[in-house]
Amino acid sequence: METLGFLIEGFAVALTPYNLMFALFGAFAGTLIGCLPGLGPANGVAILIPLAFALGLPPETAMILLTSVYAGAMYGGRISSILLNIPGDEPAMMTCLDGYPMAQKGRAADALAISAIASFSGGLIGTIGLIMLAPVLAKFALSFGPAEYFALFLLAFATLGGITGKNPMKTVIAATLGIMISTVGIDISTGTQRYTFGVLELYEGIDFILAIVGLFAISELLFFVESRIGGGRKKMNVGKLTLTFKEILTTIPTQLRGGVLGFISGVLPGAGASLGSFISYTLEKQVLGKKGHFGEGDIRGVVAPEAGNNGASSGALVPMLTLGVPGSGTTAVLLAMLISLNITPGPLMFTQNADIVWGVIAALLIGNVLLLLLNIPLVGFFVRLLSVPPMYLLPIVTMVAFVGIYSISNSTFDLYFMVAFGAVGYFLRKLEVPVVPIILGLLLGPEMEKNLGHALVLSDGDWSVLWASTLAKSFWLVAGLSLVLPYVVGPMLRRRMNAAMKESPVSD
């Protein structure tokens, strides 16, 4: 088994004390970020990017840190869902449904423990899926030419809105903004400058790390200042753990189903973790039917969505690592980080940067174990952190963001740009324009343009090359479907989701 050998080498990378320390820190910080309501995994990763630069971490350590934050945030999201009935992030929405009733019945500790276990098995299933699928897909991707890549990027844009997207028009606006920003700088296929107005700092284009940290982290800070200025939350009581071993055993089939379903929906571009947890929950309800008492604090109603969203988070890494096409907002942020570390995601990464790919995958496995260990005994600690007043948290995050961004290129110009992006992000989010599509536009727009140009050069200007191969044809077909389906299935799904939710979800 070739894969197994790589994985062992990956463990050798991830298990060095230095990397292990950062994995532990990332898992811890991620859980904390995840359980703060409103702060999702994408924001969490964006907040820690400057830290990775400020500390001057080597690429593999930086990626291990960020993937651990990602996994941690997926774990952490459930804590406030269960205790406060406010999802810590969008994927944790479904956990509110049975988690909060369990807490009301005095079983908060049990809900937190079983959801940690479910998160663990979901994450484990997802990572195993990633290990099996990614190398195969990476080999397959070598046969992609410019036309196939163009169709693939088109597909990524078509699925942007996702099935749960609220307002497709706003998604389109956001993606267009991203593409517009990405046209600044030298156009590599003609060698000419676009929209640089003679400003030297703009010649290489706008660094998307600035855009990400600005749009996610800085705007998040502004939101925090606006909504939660002042004291923290009141203390919450977790209660005693009464979970029995037998009870854990009975949820195993639910964990397996949730993890697998979550992984599949994570691999699909655009679908992401929210869909994973939703489908897992719904299926579980269908399978068990009257045998369960969902919505009233059924333990399986906590297990299914948690296994689902953690499975999906690993699944979303598959297209990001193998094709360079992110499957979700958070993986888009991770993709940007990879590119700015001078690593090109895609088939080549599995051969040229094998230590990083497999180090990250091994770190996911290790992170999962760490998170389980962290989350069961330390859950009381995280709950207490929920009541830390933001006056201590905010200055730290702000400082790290500024120091980190400045340490990338020692340019104050970049700091102004980051703050500008933060302010723009704040207003866009006020207008309910999602910021994830901006990042995707910024990342994928130039790639799509480049591949279109290349395909036309190779075919001597014959446009039909874009749908000549079977592979390209099938991408076009799926892209078409994903443009149409949200209008057909979307309202139906959303009605069901809303009917299921009592409180409107906090979007990410």
């Binding site: 156009d187 290489e204 190779l458």
Partner: protein, 325 residues
């Protein structure tokens, strides 16, 4: 070890006798016009270390990263704000001359700074996939001469960038006349471009020798020619040069330094000699070997002229392909 050490000591001693007139005191700065980790950053840091080891300068060389506009920000900074600084050197390479030739640093010209010396180079290569029909450079360029559109090149620089120019230099030397017609696909880096050539989507790859080592040893890529005056040392000795094949094309991607034009002539003399001594040292030879750099070092007096000639050549080529009006 003893011998090496004493040799370099002698070299340093000989040098310090020669240049008693001026020596930098206090902080010496080397601007790397890129983020940490790039090629220019490497040039500054490794040259700075060796300069200190050889005791050519008292203190240490502080590397300052100043990224932006492919070196343009640092160039403008040197010309406008540090014009008379005796203790400043700036890392440069063929990428710098290319951008200067193509007027990509607005209002800035190659003669606004003093070019002090080169410390080695990475040579250009032209390669094809292992199943390609082309066995040598002549076959490939003959096909391009017959029908310019028939051979498609992929490289890691923008159109008009150094990787593209290497194709044009070779094609021109082979007597092709429809240079703008030769298709060139630009990718974000050499790796991406090679994937397309290995995958059979594009005919030929243009890049530097340091980029192809992985695919060369795996046998996926066949290097048709290296654009150097003579065969490269070590593992690359089997690769024929373009010159051997009758095509007079050379494409060194050199690494070196420039400094402010208004600096004192004593300091310029000092730095030129320092670069010569550095290049001749065993420490630097080790650095070159460890990093795949290949010997390239025009004599101190000729480097300035070499750079200006390169800028002129690139300008001419860029005009020919319509990148410059």
């Amino acid at each position: 070890m003893m011998i090496k050490r004493s040799l370099s000591f002698i070299a340093a001693a000989a040098f310090s006798l020669h240049a008693t007139a001026w020596q930098p005191s206090g902080k010496v700065e080397c601007i790397a016009p890129s983020d940490p980790g790039g090629g220019w950053d490497f040039t500054c840091r490794s040259a700075g270390n060796v300069l200190r080891d050889l005791e050519l300068i008292d203190g240490s060389v502080q590397t300052v990263n100043m990224a932006g506009a492919g070196g343009g920000v640092a160039y403008a900074h040197t010309v406008s704000k540090r014009a008379e600084d005796d203790k400043l050197i700036v890392a440069a390479s063929t990428a710098t001359t290319t951008r200067l030739a193509q007027k990509q640093f607005p209002g800035l010209e190659a003669d606004m700074v003093t070019w002090i010396g080169a410390l080695g180079a990475d040579y250009g290569v032209i390669a094809v996939g292992k199943d390609s029909e082309y066995e040598n450079l002549n076959q490939l360029l003959d096909a391009a001469k017959k029908n310019p559109k028939s051979v498609k090149f992929a490289g890691g620089s923008a159109r008009g960038g150094w990787d593209h120019l290497k194709v044009l230099i070779a094609a021109k030397a082979a007597g092709a006349d429809e240079l703008p017609e030769i298709p060139y696909l630009s990718y974000n880096n050499g790796g991406e471009a090679m994937t397309q050539v290995v995958g059979g989507q594009v005919d030929a790859f243009t890049g530097d020798i340091s980029e192809v080592t992985g695919f060369l040893s795996s046998g996926d890529l066949r290097v048709l020619a290296v654009l150097a005056d003579e065969r490269l040392p070590g593992d690359f000795a089997d690769i024929p040069t373009a010159k051997e094949q009758g095509i007079d094309a050379v494409g060194p991607n050199w690494r070196g330094f420039y400094m402010p034009k208004g600096a004192s002539s004593e300091s310029k003399e000092f730095w030129r000699n320092a670069i010569d001594t550095l290049y001749a040292s065993d420490q630097w030879k080790k650095v070159m070997k460890a990093n795949g750099l290949i010997p390239f070092h025009p004599p101190a007096g000729e480097f300035d002229a070499f750079v200006k000639q390169q800028v002129q050549d690139i300008e001419g080529l860029s005009r020919e392909i319509g990148l410059l009006k």
